[in-house]
Subunit: 245 residues, 2 copies
DNA sequence: ACATGTTTATTGGTCCGACCAATGGAAAGT
DNA sequence: ACTTTCCATTGGTCGGACCAATAAACATGT
């Protein structure tokens, strides 16, 4: 036993409280819809101040585990999680310089390939209809020169496609990456040509024919060309982080 | 103008504060390593109580945007984000019943296929050496009957492979999914046979030969069989959430 | 001079007690 | 029976106090 004394972890009270509640959730003791005791009671139970309890609850709220609601029948209710947090995480990592734009677009391209292949096999008629409607809408917006609105529709296309895989996790992963893409798509300004529309028409045709290889090709080629254009347009908007160590 | 009066958003002060700070970060005005003014000053600047500022800072800390440090030269420092939060999000979504175990394993399988294909093309000698060392270690633990420790090594294998793609985003995505896998791998108890080891040896051989198809096959077959075994062993550990709307 | 211990100023961490604001149900009035 | 008013409950905010950690400035001893 050379150097393994005590780690000495000065944990914050609020973190201790939120940890205990989280354990109750992980164990299944607390489930979606359940209500926690009021802050004042929790303070007494845990033997800490209401402020500490409050910080714990706010943390859990931020994590999407609970939702706070004021008023008579209000309180802290166990929620269902928030898929949007995944996208937020990536946004932060990008803004803080921990991941690059190039890595994001590359990962997105890889994910999109998988998505389109799976979706090609599983997409329902309703999925295909929604995708078609989406492209129609995008074309309408393009003609109306509403380039900024078009971006959101384009992003929605990828989300629809990901949902067509029938796998919520995959939909969330793609959704997260697309959230970051949204940011700099708006920053870079929307495309004003119809290349995307045409590529999507080809993709839809392949999907209807259940031709996975053609669908993947259509998707990949389009994203590759987009990637090239973005790379030219977006100068790195941040100098490399100077280590804070 | 039929019904578009005022949205009436009763935002919390602390959220308003954290939002303003976040904007400064997004705009690049605040960068990794920068220090925010002390809580008491921020309270005066924003014209709110110190408690409100504190909640805002704790929220940002939870998000990985800042790190709080007590003491004389302490304060709130802009951080670099925390990739672990992505895994936490999925863990929460799973625990709260918003995503199923099956969707997680399926998405993991898809991602792993992509990862192994890319890694096959890009892995450096150092990557391959690390992967080989990992499998050796796993074999050692298996012989020592340290099944629980073996799980973590097995998970590390996937992370190493993902890192071998050279894409940090992909490594984070895989890392996040594997974090959830870790939970129920431990809950289900580690495998006690050497099937995984053998599959990994085949995978490594394919990687060394840069035979992408063989590598993908080795990975996929193994994960598929694992998936089948898990499905038998893990009964859904939670009844379907009764909606709380 | 140098090393070591002590003080002190700074800053996050916690607590208390009070009051405000939202909300739904109970009581009162019609 | 319906509407209005009131009230208890519960989160949201505040101010001020004190504790705890920390590093710099200072004092002390060799």
């Amino acid at each position: 036993m050379s150097q393994d004394f005590a780690p000495i972890k000065r944990k914050r009270l609020s973190d201790e409280v939120s940890a205990q509640i989280q354990v109750r959730i992980a164990s299944g003791e607390l489930r979606s819809g359940d209500k926690l005791p009021p802050e004042r009671e929790l303070a007494e139970i845990f033997g800490v101040s209401r402020g500490a309890v409050r910080e714990a609850l706010r943390n859990l709220e931020r994590t999407g585990l609970i939702a706070l609601q004021a008023g008579a029948r209000g309180g802290a209710f166990i929620g269902q999680g928030d898929p949007g947090l995944i996208g937020d995480s990536f946004r932060n990592l990008y803004q803080l310089g921990s991941v690059s734009l190039d890595e994001l677009t590359e990962a997105r391209l890889w994910l999109a390939s998988t998505v389109v292949r799976i979706a090609c096999a599983r997409a329902t008629d309703a999925d295909l209809a929604a995708l078609t409607a989406n492209v129609d809408e995008a074309e309408r917006l393009l003609k109306a020169r509403r380039y900024d609105d078009k971006i959101d529709i384009h992003i929605e296309f990828h989300n629809l496609l990901a949902r067509a895989t029938g796998n919520a996790v995959m939909a969330m992963l793609m959704g997260a990456l697309m959230e970051v893409m949204r940011d700099f798509a708006h920053a870079a300004g929307g495309e004003r040509n119809d290349l995307t529309i045409k590529a999507r028409r080809r993709l839809l045709a392949a999907l209807h024919k259940r031709d996975a290889d053609a669908a993947v090709t259509a998707m990949t080629e389009h994203l590759e060309s987009l990637r090239g254009r973005y790379r030219d347009r977006m100068k790195p908007h941040r100098a490399k982080a100077k280590g804070m160590n």
